[in-house]
């Protein structure tokens, strides 16, 4: 990850990165006008192949002198592309009667100018290199948040919390089994006490999947306590 400012920036690599950002928006646009993935996927593949080739030949973006600004610029350009793709179909209206696209178009113009300015800043000023990313924590924490959203209806309150809390504990290397299990248990009880018992949130303690499973296994009848 860490880049050393020894090699000069390759202009071609910079152009490839900017085109990549633009392509992001273009793909969004083409999808919105129902161009099929059969056309889009080869397009993306072709770009990736070309980018890979150029990055390898030119040593990637390692020579960018202010990577924090440069990547901000590239990412914002990609965001511009996505919003531009969403803007195309909207009616602009007139200045006396601005349509739904009018104000966003102004914002988009501003953001585009800022992105370019930040991007150029990234190439011209000197800045610190990016530091390492805690991938383990990032993936586990984000993953468990997604997991919670995906299973809260199906598994229900208690199982979703127990799993989320337990796996979240693994996000740091300093974890151990005892504290992870007890954290999960304490959190389940604590959350139940505050959110269900105290605040009366209407969330099923055990969700639809579990309910169906228990009924089909014949473990329980139609009415299981806390399952609704």
């Amino acid at each position: 990850m860490a880049s050393t400012i020894s090699k000069p920036t390759s202009p071609l690599a910079v152009i490839v990165a900017v085109i990549g950002a633009a392509l992001f928006g273009i793909v969004f646009y083409l999808r919105s006008i129902e161009v099929s993935w059969y056309v889009l996927l080869p397009l993306i593949a072709a770009y990736l192949a070309a980018a890979f080739f150029i990055f390898r030949r030119d040593g990637g973006l390692g020579g960018v002198s202010n990577p924090k600004d440069f990547y901000t610029g590239v990412l914002l350009l990609a965001v511009c592309g996505v919003f531009a793709a969403g803007l195309v179909e909207l009616p602009l209206g007139r200045i006396a009667r601005p349509g739904p696209a009018f104000f966003p178009l102004m914002l988009l113009g501003l953001l585009f100018i800022f992105s370019i300015a930040i991007l150029i800043n990234g190439l011209r000023t000197k800045g610190e290199a990016l530091t390492a990313v805690p991938w383990r924590g990032l993936i586990i924490i984000t993953g468990m948040t997604v997991f919670f959203g995906a299973t809260i209806k199906g598994l229900g309150f208690i199982p979703a919390i127990v799993v989320t809390a337990f796996v979240s504990c693994l996000a740091t290397r300093q974890w151990n089994m005892v504290s992870a299990v007890s954290t999960a248990a304490i959190l389940a009880i604590f959350s139940w006490a505050i959110f269900i018992w105290g605040l009366g949130l209407p969330i099923a303690l055990c969700g639809t999947w579990l309910r169906t499973l228990l009924i089909s296994l014949g473990v329980a009848g139609e009415s299981i306590p806390f399952c609704y």
Binding site: D69, T72, G86, P100, F103, S115, P134, C169, A171
Partner: protein, 506 residues
């Protein structure tokens, strides 16, 4: 003289109405719980006031608006105070405004004067809070009645000025801060447009309602913070010394009074400015004390005035920034943006008519601010020992709980799993922004104001039949824009730019 008499009797009647609202047993209880929870969560390392408020927001959903607001302001003060405690005891400021407190506060703690530092902070905050409450009582109605005459163009320009102020006072790169505001504005455009037609939804039904504000702020400031804190897997040590030297000596009391007075003044004046609020006040008060002091070389080595002044300024500024939020509906900093979001969830739209339409609400909140401050003082001085225990909880036990409570909190807003997924995505975005040194706070500000700003823009254009010069033709709007332009130009001037960087580097 007649005017003054009217002014004060009006003030008295308003306060009486407010206290009759706030001083019910129910509301006192909610205020108490808010302060208690706010401090408990705010004191946890790695959780600043924004994250604390976002985290505790859902527990106010079931209350009626007045009680909810009272509890929220309790949470707010608790969170602020908790942040100062963390800054003093383990030198880990949860937000920019307590950065200044940490400089001398932590040095005091190292010298075994942690109790005195915490006492000074509590008393300074309480005094500043009391003064600021009176300022709100005096000025909010005046501002509100002036704001009634504002045209849509004026409002638009006012928001522009708020943004400029936020950009000028933000740390780091100006262009990046501006880009973040515009990004926030653009993200707020996702969802139904004013005509009801979906915008930027890419035919995904989940996007039809736009993004949830709570999910966005909890993602960026809750989940994003956790990922960021996981970068540093080492253990943090809290100060282990006796905390029971709370009561200051007479000499120490004498030493802390002038800085508290000066800090309160500086904080109140600067707090009115949109965008600045607490942060600028704390910085300014600290450098003022340093300049006035006979022993400026002692600053940074545990000087009492170095805690008293910025803490008072911080609290005065934080509280005074309620004025533009409640009377104009324009939040001046991210915390106020969060409070505005919370109000809107309770179907209260702050604005100039709030004072006249819902006086019980407005004055109830104002008086509960004072009650909240008072409770903070009563609660925290005896409980400092307990808060210190909270500090010693290792982070590895803490963050699974934060993740879980964030998930439940966001889900409970509208029982929509998509909100939880928005939060996950915003967590990653928040972390990426931190990595790239982009301040996420302006983004949140833009997101909250976006739709309102578009409405005012559209209305201004319709009223002027498409004449864009309306923004510079109307006097209020023109002067607001002029102020913003001057502020921007000043900051861009090389000399001042250098000074600003130095100020933030300190």
């Amino acid at each position: 003289m007649g005017f003054l008499a009217d002014f004060f009797s009006g003030m008295g009647a308003n306060l009486a109405l407010g206290f009759s609202q706030a001083v019910t047993l129910d509301n006192l209880f909610y205020c108490f719980v808010g302060v208690l929870l706010g401090t408990a969560i705010g004191v946890l390392p790695g959780l600043g006031p924004i994250a604390t408020i976002a985290l505790l927001l859902p527990i106010t959903f079931k209350l009626d608006p007045v009680s909810a607001l009272i509890m929220l302001s309790g949470i707010y003060y608790g969170a602020q105070y908790g942040g100062s405690t963390t800054a003093i005891l383990i030198n880990l400021p949860g937000e920019t405004s307590s950065v200044v407190t940490a400089i001398d506060g932590h040095q005091m703690a190292k010298k075994g004067k942690a109790g005195l530092a915490l006492f000074t902070s509590a008393v300074g905050s309480f005094f500043a809070g009391t003064v600021a409450t009176f300022l709100i009582v005096g000025f909010a109605p005046l501002l509100a009645s002036a704001a009634l005459k504002f045209s849509p163009a004026d409002y638009f320009s006012l928001m522009v000025m708020g943004f400029v102020a936020a950009v000028v006072l933000a740390q780091g790169s100006l262009v990046k801060a501006m880009a973040m505001i515009v990004l926030g504005l653009l993200i707020s455009m996702v969802g139904p447009s004013e005509s009801g037609a979906p915008r930027f939804t890419f035919d995904n039904p989940e996007f039809f309602d736009g993004f949830d504000f709570v999910a966005l702020s909890m993602g960026i400031f809750g989940i994003g913070e956790i990922i960021r804190n996981l970068e540093d897997d080492t253990k943090r040590e809290a100060i282990k010394s006796k905390f029971f030297d709370l009561i200051p000596t007479k000499a120490e009391l004498k030493e802390m009074i002038p800085p508290i007075l000066r800090g309160t003044t500086v904080g109140s004046v600067l707090g009115i400015l949109p965008g600045g609020g607490a942060i600028l006040g704390a910085f300014a008060a600290y450098s003022l004390e340093k300049r006035l002091s006979k022993t400026p070389q002692d600053f940074g080595k545990g000087k009492l005035a170095g805690v008293a002044a910025p803490e008072s300024a911080n609290n005065a500024g934080a509280q005074v920034s309620f004025i533009p939020m409640l009377t104009l509906g324009i939040p001046s900093n991210p915390v106020m943006a969060l409070m505005l979001g919370a109000l809107i969830i309770h179907r209260i739209v702050p604005g100039p008519t709030l004072v006249t339409d819902r006086p019980e609400l407005f004055w109830g909140v104002v008086s509960s601010m004072w009650i909240g401050n008072f409770m903070l003082l009563v609660l925290n001085l005896p409980l400092i020992g307990m808060w210190v225990k909270f500090l010693t909880i290792p982070y590895r036990l803490l963050f699974p709980g934060i993740v879980t409570i964030c998930c439940i909190g966001v889900y409970s807003v509208s029982n929509n799993p998509f909100d939880v997924h928005t939060m996950a995505a915003c967590g990653v975005i928040g972390y990426v922004l931190f990595k790239l040194e982009c301040e996420p706070a302006p983004l949140l500000l833009g997101f909250v104001i976006g739709r309102l700003m578009e409405q005012y823009f559209t209305r201004a254009m319709q009223l002027s039949f498409g004449d864009a010069t309306v923004f510079v033709r109307e006097p209020i709007s023109a002067s607001l824009l002029a102020v913003s332009a001057i502020a921007l130009v000043l900051v861009l001037l090389p000399a001042i730019r250098k000074k600003r960087e130095e100020a933030f580097a300190e």
